[in-house]
């Protein structure tokens, strides 16, 4: 009973991506879930499983009651912020494969710009109420309190070890905004940027410029997972879950794993990748496209190395050589990523991977038989390989 190929994403649905939705996070969740169920050609009453993030503010029962989902036989939540994204699909596929549910909805919805802004980090949150929060107290009193700063500490070390530069990070920012520029749903629609503009944008925390940082977004994104067999009878070409994995590394912290022997890599993503290649029998060179989590540009370079698309320290050249362009060997973040389209905790990237398999991306690079998608970086994380029906 192998996970590979057992399930498929049959439906995707999202709200608009904005800076001020004007409605509740619950409503955003319900709109996205309803849209995804409709896209799959199913009814809310067909759904018997739901998976979301521990960070999600709308519990399954509230979404279920409001969209017309009845009994649930499987529901789970995954922790660690954006690290949960691909894991929602992993849990859904595992549940379906194990016979715990037939139709599982995965979703994430929030008012991350007009409501609680994650970019503010631990701003004024209590630090003594649980172990997760207490862990931040090793950083916050020093004024090391935001995600940008936490990543900056890794990035500075990466620059030192591999001779990389801010321009190397900037090329990721330029690439993603270029793809966003032709995506009507993207915040950076019709607004490409240049490397010079990246360099001229203000410092957020050295070595990160403003344009190294992703969007803050209000919105919701949902996915519908069913068995690969059932997916064949539904309206869209299935995006088969060819592989799905989670990973937490040794001495893992939330974006602050500074106490490892090396901090120029993110070994938890290496762990995710190793499992994906083992499960699928595929290699990095078999990927026709990639959606790499891009809350901050430096970790896109680390992911290329951890997943085996290039060697340690070689990502800056891999990117500069154009591999991530639409006509390159690994078209990446074709929707514009979280830098250019929207910050939906990685769930919008999974939806883009589904569109790539369907052949309906606004920046479709050709036939995509396999696409790798990653979740949050610097945290316990996850990944999936989606592919065309076998």
């Amino acid at each position: 009973m192998t996970l590979s190929g057992a399930a498929a994403i049959a439906g995707i649905g999202a709200t608009e991506f904005s800076k001020a939705s004007g409605r509740s996070e619950l409503q955003l969740a319900c709109e996205a879930v309803t849209a995804a169920i409709g896209d799959a050609g199913l009814e809310p009453s067909d759904v018997d499983g739901m998976v979301s993030f521990t960070a999600e503010s709308s519990a399954e029962i509230h979404v279920a009651r409001n969209v017309g989902v009845g009994e649930l036989t499987f529901f789970s939540r995954i922790g660690y912020g954006g690290g949960a994204a691909a894991a929602t699909v992993a849990h859904a596929a595992a549940a379906i494969n194990a016979g715990l549910a037939d139709v599982v909805v995965c979703w994430r919805a929030f008012n991350e710009r007009s409501g609680e802004r994650y970019g503010l980090g631990q701003a004024n949150r209590p630090m003594d109420t649980n172990a997760d929060r207490a862990a931040y107290s090793w950083m916050t009193p020093f004024g090391l309190s935001t995600p940008a700063q936490w990543v900056a500490m890794f990035a500075q070390r990466y620059i030192h070890e591999f001779g990389a530069s801010s321009e190397d990070f900037g090329r990721v920012a330029v690439l993603d905004r270029k793809h966003a520029a032709t995506n009507p749903h993207a915040w950076f629609h019709e607004r490409p940027i240049t490397l010079e503009e990246h360099q001229a944008s203000r410092w957020i925390s050295e070595p990160l410029h403003l344009l190294d940082c992703c969007q803050e977004t209000d919105g919701g994104q949902a996915l519908v997972v069913v068995s690969a067999e059932r997916a064949k009878d539904l309206p869209h070409p299935p995006a088969v879950v060819v592989g799905a994995s989670q990973g937490s590394g040794e001495d893992q912290h939330m974006m602050t794993s500074y106490y490892r022997p090396s901090i120029s890599g993110i070994p938890e993503m290496g762990l995710v990748g190793d499992q994906l290649w083992q499960q699928t029998g595929l290699r990095p060179s078999d990927m026709d496209a990639a959606i790499l989590y891009d809350h901050f540009t430096p970790f896109v370079l680390s992911q290329l190395e951890e997943l085996g698309f290039c060697g340690r320290g070689e990502a800056k050249d891999f990117v500069a050589d154009g591999h991530l362009e639409l006509d390159g060997s690994l078209p990446t973040n074709t929707h514009g990523g979280q830098l250019g389209e929207a910050y939906l905790h990685g769930m919008n990237g999974i939806a883009e991977a589904v569109r790539l398999v369907r052949g309906t991306s606004v920046n479709q690079p050709g036939t995509v038989a396999n696409v790798v998608v990653t979740a949050g970086t610097g945290v316990p994380t996850s990944g999936v390989v989606l592919g065309a029906a076998r």
């Binding site: 004024n124 020093f142 004024g143 090391l144 309190s145 925390s205 990160l208």
Partner: protein, 134 residues
């Protein structure tokens, strides 16, 4: 003036962080361990206080271009960006701290040597910071 956390560092002309050394395996920890050794392969439960090296090398660093929220205590009014360093000590520990008053990101680089100093956090409390060695 008194240390922000009593017992975590000494004061005076040559201040130092105070860690613990396991009586069984010699593993050094900061802040000091009092219950079980942090080394997963050791079941030691007796520890001696040990002053850590006062000098280390910058492991990595960044800054804060915007004023962090409490419990950070503002150093200047109006706010000015300041640097934060993770410093690797010869004992193998990495310890985070602010960079000393009067120094910024332009004064440090990865691998550069820094020295522990104790400076005022506010009118009452003292904290450790890392001062570049010129």
């Amino acid at each position: 003036m008194r240390p922000a956390i009593e017992g975590w560092f000494t004061t005076g002309d040559e201040p130092a962080l105070v860690g613990s050394r396991c009586g069984s395996c010699g593993h050094v920890a900061f802040p000091k361990e009092t219950v079980f050794c942090k080394n997963p392969a050791c079941s030691g439960d007796e520890f001696d206080d040990v002053e850590l090296s006062r000098r280390g090398r910058v492991w990595s660093y960044t800054d804060a271009q915007y004023q962090p929220p409490a419990p950070y205590v503002p150093r200047t009014d109006p706010y000015q960006p300041f640097a934060i360093a993770a410093v690797e000590l010869p004992e193998g520990l990495v310890v985070v701290g602010q960079v000393a008053d009067g120094f910024g990101t332009a004064d440090i680089k990865v691998g550069a040597e820094v020295e522990l100093v104790v400076e005022p956090l506010d009118d009452e409390l003292l904290i450790w910071r890392w001062r570049p060695i010129s």
